[in-house]
């Protein structure tokens, strides 16, 4: 099992590392290693100077988080950092020990930096706006004239918001060169209790800009966002019992949704076309799965067991297979069935308890939480190839790790973990590396990563 899975994993890791193949740049990288990029701190002129810290942090994190590059260590950088292409001066003879002379490509490509790429430039204030002059050089080229990959001007407002914006845009352009969709601009919806009760909150994918989205002053939880990013469905206790509530993400306003008469309607998820919702309801007694139009009409019951069934998730590519959690065979496990309720199979082995299935955007793998190998309540994040049912464990017993969902790039996972003491939102690359804590105030859980 393990040996069988290894090549499959490596393939996954390879596709994780390089995104879609094809870009010449990727093919150039020797031995399938990650390309090394050097990102020295950019300087800022005038009022832009105060914003360089935010800018540099954002740019570095965007590139680092993408997971396609190895970041060259800043402490190894030469003293003389270029700010414009004109700063490069080809020496008559390259001397690696003389690091004070004019910058040259070999300063970056030779040890100790040993980088493949260099992102450089500067920010300035212009007409009360923030302007970024950004370049990406391939420092393996012999001449400056052949080195430029990107040379572009970016505009933003003269504040931290603007500094983040131009950094995100520059990072997006860099990553696009490597066939990678940047996560800059993507958002994470999550549940936080920091206002006093659990409400839906939203933040940028890197944890910045955290804002409260719902104001029910009640228990609001278990969000799911429509694939087009226009609506959010969640479970709210504001009506007395748990019910499904839908809001527009464009206006923030509540959208009508018909809740069938039940002591519980919960854990709703959208179909890929956004026209239907599948959810769990106790309308007939036990919590069972139902499908309805996006406004709650045209109900259809999908499962019929005397067990608890929750968390239906529809394959975003095929729109057919539903992953769900059921107690029909004993402790909760992840199952799969067709959208009409046929062809039910258990995906997890039956060991421990399994929950929180989440399709990757490609509809091939699921991330989920499992207590396999641990006592009840000690959840870890796993990924499973749904077709072969081969799986890999991404977290290793550090606290409770739950509710994984995929980033739009299909390469990152956001989840909640109490490894630091309290339950917080974390992100990581889908191979378990690049762990990053995104929240710290209050209790935060149930993240959903959207475009």
């Amino acid at each position: 099992m393990k040996n069988l899975f290894l090549p499959c994993l490596l393939t996954l890791a390879a596709s994780l590392a390089y995104g879609q193949p094809g870009a010449d740049i990727v093919g150039r990288i020797v031995g399938g290693q990650k390309a090394v990029i050097a990102i020295p701190d950019f300087r800022g002129a005038g009022r832009a100077a105060n914003l360089t810290a935010v800018f540099n942090e954002t740019l570095f994190q965007d590139i680092d988080q993408a997971g396609v590059f190895k970041m060259a260590p800043k402490s190894m950088f030469p003293l003389n950092v270029p700010q414009r292409p004109e700063d490069f001066r080809k020496p008559l003879q390259y001397d690696p020990n003389n690091r004070t002379r004019a910058p040259w490509l070999l300063d970056w490509s030779e040890p100790p930096v040993s980088s493949d790429f260099l992102a450089f430039g500067y920010t300035a204030e212009q007409d009360n706006q923030l302007v970024l002059f950004g370049w990406l050089f391939n420092v393996r080229q012999p001449e400056v004239s052949a080195a430029q990959v990107i040379g572009k001007i970016y505009h933003g407002s003269l504040d931290e918001e603007g500094a983040r914006k131009v950094a995100h845009e520059f990072a997006t352009d860099i990553l696009r060169q490597f066939g990678v969709e940047s996560l800059a601009g993507s958002k994470i919806y999550f549940v936080s209790n920091r206002s006093g009760s659990k409400e839906i909150w939203v933040m940028d994918y890197d944890g910045s800009n955290q804002k409260q989205f719902t104001f029910y002053k009640n228990l609001v939880t278990m969000p799911n966002v429509s694939p087009d990013g226009t609506r959010i469905a969640f479970t709210s206790f504001a009506g007395g019992v748990p019910q499904i509530v839908v809001h527009s993400l464009e206006t923030g306003r509540k959208i009508p949704f018909y809740n069938q008469r039940a002591s519980m309607n919960a854990t709703a998820a959208y179909t890929p076309d956004g026209k239907q919702l599948i959810y769990s309801s106790t309308a007939s007694g036990w919590a069972q799965l139902y499908r309805a139009n996006a406004d709650g009409s045209k109900l259809e019951r999908l499962t019929n067991t005397r067990s608890i069934e929750v968390e239906p998730k529809i394959n975003p590519k095929t729109g057919n297979e539903i992953l769900f959690v059921s107690g029909r065979g004993g402790p909760q496990q992840v199952y799969k069935m067709n959208i009409d309720g046929t062809d039910v199979t258990r995906l997890t082995t039956g060991e421990g308890e399994a929950s929180n299935p989440a399709w990757n955007p490609q509809g091939s793998h699921m991330a989920f939480a499992w207590t396999k190998g641990y006592s009840p309540g000690n959840w870890n994040i796993f990924i499973m190839d749904v077709a072969t049912r081969e799986y890999v464990q991404l977290t290793q017993g550090a606290g409770r790790n739950e509710n994984p969902t995929w980033a739009p790039d299909g390469r990152h996972i956001v989840f909640s973990s109490n490894r630091g003491g309290s339950m917080q939102i974390w992100s990581m690359l889908a191979d378990g590396t690049q762990l990053r804590q995104l929240t710290s105030a209050g209790v935060n859980e149930k993240p959903v990563w959207t475009k």
Partner: protein, 257 residues
């Protein structure tokens, strides 16, 4: 080989020695064997009860009185009313439901000493096994006084044996309460411990509340007076991560509305 045999032998010997010693000690009768030849006329005094009290000596039903005693020179001390053998000095809380006399008996070879105390129990507002509420109590107060939570096993919604008795009492009390308050309803909240997933627990809490409601309606409580809600694991009463806490959280709670 030899060494092992020798050591086994030694072990067996020492074991038999200890065993013999033990047996002798246990078998020894209460009168101490020593005094016979040497001591000059061992006249054993009968034990002395220094004190035996009940504080307070008058309680309301349901309250506790503390028995305290000290005895000297006794080989065995016991207290009546089922308290049984006790140490020479001690105290014990008792909850008599009516006026009760407790007799302390201290014995040794020389004889027996006894002493009695009486705990007077007054019948206050409370009479029935479930404390009877005051006539002025409102719906919420009566529910809080008379209706008890029930508890569940992990990942289960079946009514446990111990919960059946509780629910039977709850059903009787509910009939009384609903008779007095014909317009009120009761909400049965289903709760879970923190270990299962929050989503699954929402379904499990619902099952617990529903199973509780079904049990009560089978005992004749009107179904339309009972609502159910699941809080899953969102409203724990206890927040530590241990079975002591988890068992308190796996419950059906009755909330007056």
């Amino acid at each position: 080989m030899n060494i092992r045999r020798v050591s086994v032998l030694a072990l067996a010997l020492s074991l038999s020695f200890f065993a013999a010693g033990c047996r002798k000690k246990v078998a020894a009768p209460p009168p101490p064997p020593a005094p016979a030849p040497v001591a000059p006329k061992a006249v054993v005094q009968k034990p002395m009860i220094v004190f035996f009290t009940a504080e307070p000596s008058t309680i309301e039903r349901g309250q506790a009185s503390v028995l305290k005693w000290e005895v000297k020179g006794a080989d065995s001390v016991s207290i009546s009313q089922g308290l049984g053998t006790v140490s020479a000095t001690g105290n014990r809380s008792v909850f008599p439901s009516s006026t009760t006399s407790y007799t302390l008996t201290a014995t040794n070879a020389g004889g027996t000493a006894t002493e009695s105390v009486t705990v007077n129990v007054t019948a206050p507002a409370a009479v029935a096994p479930p404390a009877t509420p005051a006539p002025s109590d409102d719906f919420g107060t009566m529910v809080a006084k008379l209706i008890q939570d029930i508890y569940f096993d992990y990942d289960k919604s079946e009514i446990r044996e111990d919960s059946r008795a509780t629910l039977t009492k709850n059903a009787d009390a509910l009939k009384t309460i609903f008779g007095k308050f014909p317009n009120n309803t009761l909400t049965i909240e289903g709760h879970c411990d923190e270990r299962g997933s929050a989503e699954y627990n929402l379904g499990l809490g619902d099952r617990r509340a529903t199973a509780t409601k079904e049990f009560l309606t089978q005992l004749g409580v009107s179904a339309d007076r009972l609502r159910t809600i699941s809080y899953g694991k969102e409203r724990p009463t206890c927040t530590e991560s241990n079975e002591g806490c988890w068992s308190k959280n796996r419950r059906s709670h009755f909330a007056a509305q």
